[in-house]
């Protein structure tokens, strides 16, 4: 298993060496923040709702489970809510279309700046397969935590934060607290 992962990551690392395109530096964070704030404001002005990300994956996975095991999905109080009552297609979901837009927007921006590259972002002290393992575990915790908190960094911290929602601010403080609390133990991975 690990040799397979090593082989796969090795292929990606080789390709990375071949690409000699100069990528542009990232933009000024305050300018980006202002732009992101205007996008969020537009969502509120036009739709009366904020941005999100994790909800789209809840929809996808619920539809996936329904396709494989319809009875199981129907009997689960959590998944059945995302499938709906059958009168509308659950894939006609606002957040899902928004996240497809995020995918497109990220690719457009990355392409224009020469930053689209097949590679693995990792610290200098760990191997690629270790990094991928950590990415999977961290993603798992995030998926679980986001469901418990009724939203992730986009839906709670950013969108709820701008509306001065108490639960969102408490959530945001705890995200930073959790990150800083874990940072010492994971320093080998990043620095």
């Amino acid at each position: 298993m690990t040799t397979l992962v090593r082989k796969i990551t090795h292929i990606f690392e080789k390709e990375e060496e071949k690409v000699e395109v100069k990528s542009q530096p990232y933009s000024n964070p305050y300018v980006v923040g202002f732009g992101l704030g205007l996008v969020l404001l537009a969502a509120y002005v036009i739709m009366g709702r904020g941005l999100g990300a994790s909800g789209a994956f809840s929809t996808l996975i619920s539809v996936g489970i329904e396709t494989v095991a319809p009875e199981h999905a129907k009997n689960n109080a959590y998944f059945s809510e995302y499938i709906g009552d059958g009168t509308t297609n659950p894939l006609k979901d606002w957040l899902l279309f928004e996240v497809i837009g995020v995918l497109a927007g990220g690719f457009i921006s990355g392409s224009l700046a020469g930053r689209v590259k097949k590679k693995i972002e990792k610290g200098p002290r760990i191997s690629s397969w270790q990094r991928l393992m950590f990415a999977f575990i961290g993603g798992g915790l995030m998926g679980f935590g986001a469901k418990l908190a009724r939203g992730c960094t986009s839906g709670q911290a950013l969108s709820g934060g701008a509306m001065l929602n108490l639960g969102s601010w408490a959530f945001m403080m705890m995200v930073f607290a959790g990150g800083y609390a874990g940072a010492y133990f994971l320093r080998r991975q990043w620095t």
Partner: protein
């Protein structure tokens, strides 16, 4: 003209999906420009060497917050029609902590991992697979978690209501807090400049 436009029936549901896609493009574009498709930059936040996450997030929150505040003050935006999630304080605090741990272990959050994947990063894709797995586990465990999930409900509650302060004053405090955080972030970045992954890109 009254906002939010969708709630006043300016366009139908199918059109709202087109709006979702366009707004999503703006969202993804901004995240990528900000360096959020790169796990090393996101994680550096927690080592004080690169404070982009704080700067971008706080600037965005302040921008949107001021916009919402002034648009509601002049009567353009009807805040009663804007969606605000209810506060379930304990699950949100515990969920936030788990998310924070997930952030430092995995290096992304759900939205930024989409951008990372869109720009070719294999770790972003693996992270996304983890998110899907985590949601699956949560859903399967839901009967066990249900009572906790619905506990400590405080209803729709905003900071001005909670602290019993005028809306405008809380907005002002948040702006002050953001400015203080920016000053601290600039100071930290200078102090840990040698460890900033962005300087070695």
């Amino acid at each position: 003209m009254n906002s939010p436009f969708f709630k006043f029936g300016f366009f139908n549901f199918d059109m709202s999906l087109v709006v979702a896609f366009i707004i999503g493009i703006g969202f993804g574009f901004a995240l990528e420009r900000g360096g959020f498709g790169n796990a090393r930059i996101l994680a550096a936040q927690f080592y004080f060497s690169n404070m982009r996450v704080l700067k971008v997030m706080f600037t965005a929150i302040v921008t949107a917050m001021l916009g919402i505040y002034y648009l509601s003050v002049i009567g353009f935006m009807d805040l009663s029609l804007v969606y605000v999630g209810e506060t379930y304080i304990l699950p949100q605090v515990v969920g936030g902590l788990i998310l924070g741990f997930g952030f430092i272990i995995g290096g992304y959050c759900p939205g930024t991992s989409v951008v990372s994947f869109a720009t070719g990063r294999l770790d972003g894709f693996t992270f996304l697979a983890g998110v899907v797995a985590g949601i699956f586990v949560f859903g399967e465990m839901f009967p066990l978690l249900e009572s906790f999930y619905y506990s400590t409900n405080l209803g729709k509650l905003t900071l001005p209501e909670f602290f019993n302060l005028p809306y405008g004053l809380v907005v002002f405090f948040v702006v002050l807090m953001a400015l203080g955080a920016f000053a601290a972030a600039e100071w930290a970045e200078k102090k840990f400049a040698d460890k900033n992954p962005e300087n070695s890109l």
